[in-house]
């Protein structure tokens, strides 16, 4: 049996598979069909301090091999999450990572503090890359100084591992990975969605009520793999890779390119039981290639032919 454990800061995960934020609800929605404790970690929907309504529908539209969404971070807020969802997630032995949102640096810190004080949160993913809210999100994530400031501010208030989630909508994602590392991040996760738009040509309006949205799914996978590779070349902290993963082969692309762990978002919509196949496929590959520990596979891409 291959050793699939992954270390991210002080956290040890039993395998490299995580649900991507916003694609797995609060985890509990899937508890009836997925053993949540079988995932390396359950990353839950992005949370602000307060509840949020999100955008009016239509919130999603399918594109060629992709999904465009502008949910607008509908959510119950950090406090209600701690009260209403966390106890059940703990009972199910889920390793819970919360995706932290904020409209100000103070809000990121405050949400992080609340979640750190609660029992049962394993790590914080800092969402500085959501393209679907005017304030916060991508506004922090596309400016090096702000991105660093968010990480530094959260670093001060929490002992939990933190990993900022980077936007792909920049010239150099790797520069943001370095800024994260320098400001005390334990890892970086990427990619969030690509800012994009679908036009309803009959109505001459965007299909989504919010106008633009974020593109995810297999369509973006080759770009995401490239970005993960670039970041992994430039930082020493672990990289958590995602973007279009829909099979063990896809996950292996990310791991070989340098991701220590991977997240699955859109593909979970198509195949909510994907986790078993992913774990089995990765393990099978490792056995076939004589790789005992996952860490020995991570970042083994050779350049040139």
């Amino acid at each position: 049996m291959a050793d699939l454990t992954v270390r991210i800061g002080s956290l040890v995960l039993k395998n490299p598979l995580m649900s991507a934020s916003g694609c797995f609800g609060y985890g509990l929605e899937y508890a009836g069909i997925v053993d949540l404790s079988s995932l390396g970690a359950v990353v839950v929907k992005g949370l602000f301090l307060e509840e949020r309504e999100g955008h009016p529908p239509p919130r999603v539209v399918e594109t060629p091999s992709g999904l465009l969404n502008a949910i607008g971070l509908q959510g119950i807020g950090a406090r209600r999450f701690v009260r209403e969802k966390l106890p059940e997630l703990r009972r199910l032995n889920a390793v819970v990572v919360v995706n932290v949102c904020g409209t100000t640096i103070d809000e990121y810190a405050e949400v992080s503090r609340i979640l750190s004080d609660a029992e049962g949160v394993a790590a914080l993913e800092l969402n500085i890359s959501c393209p679907n809210v005017r304030e916060g999100g991508i506004q922090f994530g596309s400016d090096l100084a702000s991105a660093g400031a968010v990480v530094a501010a959260v670093r001060k208030v929490t002992p939990l591992p933190i990993f900022p989630k980077l936007t792909p909508n920049v010239t150099s994602v790797a520069a943001f990975a370095r800024a994260a590392e320098e400001n005390g991040a334990d890892a970086v996760s990427l990619v969030n969605t690509f800012l994009a738009m679908v036009v309803d040509v009959e109505r001459r309006r965007p299909v989504l009520s919010n106008g633009m949205g974020g593109l995810s799914g297999p369509a973006i996978r080759p770009i995401a793999v490239r970005m993960v590779y670039e970041c992994a070349q430039q930082v020493r902290i672990p990289v958590i890779g995602m973007g279009g993963i829909a099979s063990a082969r896809d996950a292996l692309e990310f791991l070989i390119a340098g991701a220590s762990a991977v997240q699955v978002g859109t593909a979970n919509f198509v195949d909510p039981l994907i986790w078993t196949a992913l774990a089995a496929g990765i393990e099978d590959y490792m056995i076939r290639h004589g790789i005992a520990r996952l860490a020995d596979l991570v970042g083994t891409l050779e350049r040139g032919r």
Binding site: G22, G54, P57, V60, V61, L67, P218, F269, V270, D271
Partner: protein, 271 residues
Amino acid sequence: MAPADVQAEVLGNRRLSADYNVLLLDAPAIAAAARPGQFVMIRTGPGTDPLLRRPFSVFEIVGDGGRAPSAFSVLCKRVGPGTERLYRLEAGGCLSVLGPLGKPFDLVAPPAEAWMVAGGVGLAPFAALAGALRASGVACRLFYGARTAADLFYLDDFAARGVALDLATEDGSRGTRGLVTAPLEIALRGRPAGAAVTLYACGPEPMLKAVAALAGAHGCASQVSTERVMACGMGGCYSCVVSVRDSSGRARFVRSCLDGPVFDGAAVAWD
């Protein structure tokens, strides 16, 4: 009851017209658990275009003689690439089917009457609903509208179940000319005072809204089956929200795949 994700064999594909077909799927786990108004998410084929599963109401639940249901059907209307694939499927093929999902209709009991209102492919949830209601002796009536007579399906089946039919077509080729809400309104006006009627509606959103309004105006309950783009069907994505008033009257976005697709017509905050 947790949904099941099954590889269902296509037992048959009955093409009702150039655009409508009925797929019979061998899926005992889903057929046995499904309640009228629930839906399934179907992966229409391999590959990533189309990418997502598509939601379909459970149409007929098919028993194996007196034994437990072993199969169910979906009524499909061809509108895009996903339904195109389903239209072309041949018996013997296999489909990934996830379900049953969502909240079913609340079933009324006699002496209350059930009036179903279907617009086009909105007929889909009513075969199962009529079956369940008739089994408990509820008087049923189906108001069923479509573009034209050729788009009205399964009339004999509903009639054979003892469901009274009120038809409407936009071109007047069968039943009342115009929208199905016209004969519905007349019937609501004409019903004996005090007769308890619940309206069940499925079809285009303007029809649902009109039905909910008629229900309100005539003091009936209404249950409407909404249709939103659904990426996951499981509560994971928040794509499918409907604006629904809570007990305090405040409209909130709730996920129609979890808290619906059936809602109290009076609670929906129609826009």
